[in-house]
């Protein structure tokens, strides 16, 4: 991937802000859907779709594309927004989220929306699918990167660890997984619901190379994915520390916003905050 210049960082910041606004507009329009996770992952999605992924939005079936598996399907509004902004489908279509006949299902469905890569929602199965893809890329000697995004909550699923064990055994260095470490899940804080720490040591013990980053810092995001490409004979895990609800002050860190829906005035307030937010997001880089 190309070097991250200052202009590109500025572009990504603006794009992430746009994606956040899209997410809020979509979820408030749909009157249902998750909000904190998508806002927390907006920077990472902006970085992936506009800097890291080798892809072609006009040819989503291009066989040599990198694969981006979203395991925690419930944060799909952020993926839909990033895909629309990248040119996979018209931005207008974002308004159809979660409505009858829409390609933007409440949880993403592969066969109706080109570019989605897999159907997901039930937690804990995305890493397995990414492992399957990475195995085939190796089998067929293809230079394709397999990326998997997971939530921290789904580290509670046994299947995640079955997949982690297999990836370690097979030394899948074409696989880079990322955990959105925002510390919240539906019923509360992850460490109260089911302690996950020490996550780094757990993955290391399973044969992974682990990186910790600030999930709102574009340089750290880009560097981590660049480092991942240079690691041999080990799958890479990026633990991205993120702020759930990032960009809207009354949502940040508040677990009830994991899946709570907006009142109209809350959506309005969120959008107003985001539209005046440039300085606040920039502060992460200072």
């Amino acid at each position: 991937m190309p070097h991250l210049h200052e202009d590109k960082i500025k572009f990504l910041e603006e794009m992430a802000n746009q994606i956040r606004q899209d997410v809020i507009a979509m979820v408030s329009h749909a009157r249902s859907g998750h909000i904190a996770g998508p806002l927390g992952m907006a920077d990472i999605f902006a970085a992936l779709y506009f800097h890291i992924l080798r892809h072609d939005p006009k040819h989503p079936e291009w066989s040599e594309r990198d694969r981006l598996i979203l395991s925690n399907g419930h944060i799909c509004p952020v993926r839909y927004a990033a895909m629309a902004r990248a040119g996979y489908f018209p931005v207008e279509e974002l308004k159809t989220l979660r409505t009858f006949g829409s390609r933007l299902q409440g949880h993403p469905h592969r066969t109706i929306l080109p570019g989605v890569e897999t159907t997901s929602g039930p937690l804990g199965s995305g890493l397995s699918q990414a492992v399957g893809m990475a195995i085939v890329a190796k089998m067929d000697a293809k230079k394709i990167n397999i990326y998997c995004l997971m939530s921290d909550g789904e580290q509670e699923c046994g299947q995640t660890w079955e997949a982690a064990m297999l990836a370690g055994k097979l030394k899948l260095d074409n696989l880079t997984a990322l955990i959105d470490r925002n510390n919240i899940q539906i019923d509360g804080m992850t460490e109260d619901i089911m302690p996950l720490e020490p996550l780094r040591q757990k993955y290391e013990a399973f044969g992974w190379h682990v990186l910790d980053i600030n999930g709102h810092n574009f340089e750290e995001i880009a560097n981590a994915y660049e480092t991942a490409q240079a690691i041999y004979e080990k799958p890479v895990l990026i633990i991205a520390h993120t702020i759930p609800g990032k960009g809207v002050d009354f949502m940040e860190f508040e677990y009830p916003w994991h899946s709570k829906t907006f009142k109209p005035e809350e959506a309005k307030e969120s959008l107003a905050q985001l539209r005046t937010l440039q300085g606040k997001i920039k502060s992460e880089h200072e």
Partner: protein, 335 residues
């Protein structure tokens, strides 16, 4: 003998002492190998049961196309889904109790709903697993797979048909479930016996230009018991049609409807819970199209246990004598 000549069955199929005995899982092993020889996209995954599921021959011939998953059936289903989305045709195998028993949601979401071209191969289905006991005897697997949209379901009657069903699965685009058994059972079909997805076939037929008194529709190795029952019933002067029905989904509606119209009484036979099995599929269809009395041979809302296969088949009411009793009951119910 009233054997359908088109079925091309073995000659001495009633001679239970002389007939060759092989487990249907052997047909998985040879069918998988044949599919793999023909198509380099065929890959195999197994959850620590390589020898007993008969994946071994494929794994030895094509080590680069085989993935040992360890005891992790949920992971196996979704890894296979990921491989399928990259263009492979993965066959996943374990005991049916664990796959599809343990990984049902992964099969539903990441394979079937995702339209991933994965073949789920469940060995050790039925109580005839024997000494291992109820924990390892899958008698609910057809019921688990049948209601999933996009899923095809096969239950072959012997090792030869199991080979064909496995080979056919590789040719179908989309998820397929095939169930196999552990125990050796009579090999009574031949390489020439037709096998086609969505097709059932009468193996035993009533005399020409007559109507049968009853039609027995069976799947899996118990089809041989159904034929033994038909032979006994014939000696008592009864006209019987025995239909082998390996394709539970899609169902051969034409053949089943004709059987219901001709016989006006049906007995279904399967080594599975009566609830949700092949008999249920037939009853659902006939209730709408041509309701006739149906009696169901299968496990009646119980768990299995340790024992010899023969003891267990008898204990759970699936022997030839039980089929004959069911025929008597269903004929008594004819209006």
């Amino acid at each position: 003998m009233p054997i359908n000549p088109k079925a091309k069955l073995v000659e001495h199929l009633l001679d239970v002492k002389a007939i060759e005995q092989k487990p249907t899982r052997d047909g998985y092993g040879t069918g998988l190998l044949a599919a793999g020889d023909e198509n380099p996209s065929v890959v195999a995954l197994c959850a620590d049961l390589m020898e007993s599921t008969r994946t071994e021959a494929f794994a030895q011939k094509y080590p680069d196309r085989f993935v040992e998953m360890g005891v992790a059936e949920q992971n196996m289903a979704s890894v296979a889904a990921g491989m399928a989305l990259m263009g492979k045709i993965p066959f996943i195998s374990s005991y049916a109790m664990f796959s599809p028993g343990r990984n049902w949601e992964q099969i539903r979401t990441t394979i079937a709903y995702n339209e991933a071209n994965v073949k789920i191969c469940g060995a050790h289905a039925g109580v005839s697993v024997g000494p291992d006991g109820a924990t390892h005897q899958a008698i609910e697997d057809i019921a688990l797979m049948r209601p999933i949209a996009n899923m095809t379901v096969f239950s072959p009657c012997d090792s030869v048909e199991a080979h064909k069903a496995t080979y056919a699965a590789a040719k179908i685009t989309g998820p397929v479930y095939v169930r196999y058994a552990r125990e050796k059972t009579p090999v009574f079909t031949t390489a020439q016996t037709p096998f086609e997805p969505g097709k059932a076939m009468a193996f035993w037929v009533e005399p020409v230009r007559t109507k049968p008194d009853v039609a027995i529709i069976s799947c899996g190795p118990l089809t041989h018991n159904a034929i033994l029952a038909a032979a006994e019933l014939e000696r008592e002067g009864m006209k019987v049609r025995v239909i082998n029905n390996p394709s539970i989904k899609p169902l051969d509606k034409e053949t089943i409807l004709k059987a219901a119209k001709d016989a006006k009484a049906i007995v279904t036979v399967e080594e599975h819970q009566v609830a949700g099995g092949m008999g249920s599929a037939i009853a659902e269809f006939l209730a709408q199209s041509y309701p006739v009395p149906v009696e169901f041979i299968g496990v009646q809302n119980r768990f299995g246990q340790s024992g010899t296969p023969t003891e267990l088949i008898e204990h759970y009411g699936m022997g030839a004598a039980h089929i004959i009793e069911a025929v008597t009951r269903v004929i008594a119910r004819k209006s």
